[in-house]
Subunit: 187 residues, 2 copies
DNA sequence: GTCTATATGAAGATAGAC
DNA sequence: GTCTATCTTCATATAGAC
């Protein structure tokens, strides 16, 4: 990898975390600069604007999600196991979820209000999960209801993350995960 | 009501709507001034700071919620009817929900990232609903599970509002409301 | 109580030396 | 490609006349 590419990635990584922790609008360029160790002025060599940086962050998140889902698809044998793997995400990231909520959910909420033209880019992250979940339900021969089930399960997870983070309540998140797991097992 | 009181209320009303539509951080004082018809400079006669204005907005929302729940409590005869009245909120406000999400949920998400000291004030809005829901379940003699049920139902509603607004999907919100109603009726 | 003008500071963006 | 210095804009907040 060229030096320029490496720096670009460092900026995107730093921005990714700051956008999650502080929100996009409340993150200043100078903070991203400080966190990534790249001087402020250099930014505009890599990104023409803050919005372009945001798009790069979303691109990377999408790539990461794609990768993760592909890996699950290959490693886990049954659709049911894959669904349970999905519900376990908030448990694996429990500290972050309790403190900052869901990175996709909170970004979508923010951009839906202030960067309407980027709303569709942010919702692509949701799409990846929901389409993947739909595929699992379809494989379990719930053809008709697959889409509805996928949306429902995903929305449940979002609600759990949101309420759990508002109350910093780990037990509630665990309880909701158990509930989702039970629901999957009734199918 | 004194003139000053009336102006104060106009400011709070305008801010309340703008904070919902644009978010707190992305709403400028000058916008609130324009929307309320009160000159910018006058603001600091009514509120010492932007944060104080936010607190006034939250206070009013809390008051409104309290009022609404009291009214439901009196007007609706059974706890089950009251629970169904709760699930109908997103249908009654469907246009706003689809466009801006849940006003409480999105404010909580935003303040959880950037105004941590106001997080607890914002979560009081949640508390009112959840405690009220808990009371209904308790009245249905689900003493043990009342708190869990209340949190679960509330989180479901939040998830539905969030995903519904990300996809501007009215049908999904309706489907989730039906699901919640069905669940209530199985109890 | 009401309003205008303005101070202050921060954030996004640019220019240009090296 | 890298960095410093700086411009511009805009939002919060203040001063002070009426």
């Amino acid at each position: 990898m060229k030096k320029g590419e490496a720096n670009r990635k460092r900026i995107v990584d730093a921005a990714n975390q700051l956008f999650y922790h502080k929100g996009y609008n409340q993150t200043a360029f100078s903070e991203v600069a400080e966190a990534s160790g790249i001087p402020k002025g250099n930014f505009y060599y890599y990104f023409k604007s803050k919005e372009e940086l945001l798009e790069a962050v979303i691109d990377q998140r999408i790539e990461d999600i794609r990768c993760m889902l592909d890996e699950w698809q290959q490693r886990l044998a049954t659709p049911r196991e894959r669904l349970h793997r999905f519900t376990r995400i908030p448990l694996n990231e429990i500290d972050d979820v309790v403190r900052y909520g869901c990175p996709m959910g909170s970004l979508n909420v923010e951009l839906g209000k202030t960067q309407l033209h980027l709303k569709s880019r942010a919702s692509e992250m949701f799409d990846l999960f929901i389409n993947w979940l739909e595929k699992q339900f379809a494989e379990m021969s719930y053809r008709e209801q697959a889409r509805g089930y996928a949306l429902h399960l995903f929305a449940n997870a979002q609600g759990a993350a949101l309420v759990g983070s508002v109350y910093s309540d780990r037990m509630f998140i665990k309880a909701e995960v158990t509930r989702m797991d039970d629901w999957i097992d009734t199918l």
